[in-house]
């Protein structure tokens, strides 16, 4: 497979002038479009100095927003993970009618705008919704409170874990599990000792992406939370509130926490991809594809 070693004709687009200009243009755009927003967050967060940054983070409303965001994630992510594993187990290890439809429905929230999701939840639990009057007479508060925030987050992230597991478990087949059960292992034992070790990286990958989305969700949560400062404001909503209060430095200080979370997510993602997660759709033969691409000499 060594086509492009020295002395061989170059591939399409390897002309030095073309390569350097394309590389230059693309890197400039990456710098402007992707790196600059990150840099501006850091610069603006510290624009009024380190002390102001620390005060912004320590502000009771900001601390409450952080706490609320963490609590919402602590509830939504584990439930979503259990659902994702159950869905992947049912879909990949069993045959039943309507499997395709079920897969489509699980993927649905991925295509629905978060605003539509928020509005839809209003018509279930809101006063003008299906259960609103009943809930009010029982004095159960779902909207404009933590349960609403958790439910809306669960809607937008419903496909996250399942989507990582289903292709992988499909590719792995059922042979190992069938062998385990035929040797007398129980269903749970089969899952924990046979299936789980094979899917652990993909599972973790899905959980990390799900957590990042739950903590950062804005549109759906802004509809159902009611935006009550110090009560139902999650961190993204608090960022909006500070921004519209003309407290840019405070807003960016809060935003820098979520930006750090995004960077941690990316680092973990790269680390997990090295373990093979997130790349199931690529044929295994591609693993060594890098070696046939020529080195660019700067």
């Amino acid at each position: 497979m060594v086509h492009n070693r020295k002395g061989k004709p170059p591939r399409v687009g390897d002309n030095t002038v073309f390569r350097r200009s394309l590389l230059g243009i693309v890197l400039v755009f990456v710098g402007l479009m992707i790196v600059a927003p990150l840099v501006v967050i850091a610069v603006e967060a510290f624009s009024r100095g380190v002390v102001y940054f620390a005060e912004s983070i320590a502000d009771p409303d900001t601390r409450h927003a952080i706490l609320l965001t963490v609590i919402a994630a602590l509830i939504a992510v584990p439930i979503n993970t259990a659902f994702g594993v159950a869905a992947a187990w049912a879909i990949t290890k069993h045959d039943f009618r309507g499997k395709r439809l079920l897969t489509v429905i699980i993927e649905l929230p991925f295509s629905v705008s978060p605003i539509v999701a928020g509005v839809a939840y209003l018509f279930v639990y809101g006063l003008q919704g299906l259960f609103g009057p009943v809930l009010q007479s029982m004095e159960i508060k779902i909207l404009f409170a933590l349960p609403g925030i958790v439910l809306a987050s669960m809607f937008v992230t419903a496909p996250f874990v399942a989507r990582e597991l289903i292709p992988l478990m499909q590719a792995q087949g059922r042979d190992l599990e069938e062998a385990a059960t035929s040797l007398g292992a129980s269903g749970w034992r089969t899952f924990f000792s046979v299936t789980l070790p094979n899917i652990k990286w993909a599972l973790l990958y899905g959980v990390v992406l799900c957590n990042s989305r739950v903590m950062g969700e804005f549109g759906a949560v802004s509809v159902v939370s009611g935006n009550i400062r110090g009560q139902t404001n999650t961190l993204p909503l608090h960022i909006e509130l500070l921004y519209h209060d003309y407290n840019a430095a405070g807003s960016f200080a809060a935003a820098s926490i979520l930006a750090c979370l995004a960077i941690v997510t990316l680092v973990v993602k790269v680390a997990l991809e090295r373990q093979g997660a997130g790349r199931v759709q690529r044929p295994a033969a591609l693993a060594g594809a890098d070696s046939i691409i020529p080195e660019v000499k700067p």
Partner: protein, 273 residues
Amino acid sequence: MRRRVLPGLPLALGITLVYVAIIVVLPLAALVFKAASLGPADYWRIISSDRAFASYRVTVLCALAATVFNLVFGMALAWVLVRYRFPGRRLVDALVDLPFALPTAVAGIALTTLFATNGWFGAPLSLLGIKVAYTPLGIIVAMSFTSIPFIVRTVQPVLEELDPALEEAGQTLGASDLSIFVGVILPLLTPALLAGVSLSFARSLGEFGAIIFIAGNQPFSTEITALLAFIRLEEYDYPASAAIASVMLLTAFVMLAITNLMQARALRYTVRG
């Protein structure tokens, strides 16, 4: 051929169906029910109002522009990542996912600050007479940012897998790089490009968080449909909100069908043997 049946179907399927019913199907059904309870005349009046129509126009046109930009830039980015070796390539590869990882509200305030008339990009651009923040251009910028990974990540694997022999055949026959690219490489990438384009376009249509900060949100000029549904809600005009949200939901279904079709086509070309 009878397979051994693995245990756990009732429990796993039970959890799945309960979750899907409560979390996904129930709210969407409630939305459709609410919109349907309006009656055809009222429904049509709301969704075809001038303000709603202007919002569809802005949303669709900006999403188209953002997708075209992403098509060119995303394709170039994927090409550079796959074909060229350069210092920091892995870093750039990882950064491509930043728009997915960065919460949309954070992206929104960052882009607005960059493109405001006193911002790093806004100041030089305003000297040239170009205003980005609080104009449709700002909406396009926000849409491009949030959906650029779709094109890169769908094209990248196909480009990695491209058989060098195909290009060599063209080179041996004396074809120029450009004609090999247009005649050989581009047709092979087209299914992946189309899949990426439909994902990117669908995401742009539904985007909210990143856009509302930079858009200016003026009715009839920079008000996107998602915002209009939100505003109707804040005005306690629930039927109007339901109707507009149902239009967005219907669009999402159509885009989902198109995307699935495109992805199935792309996959047919990607996975061989």
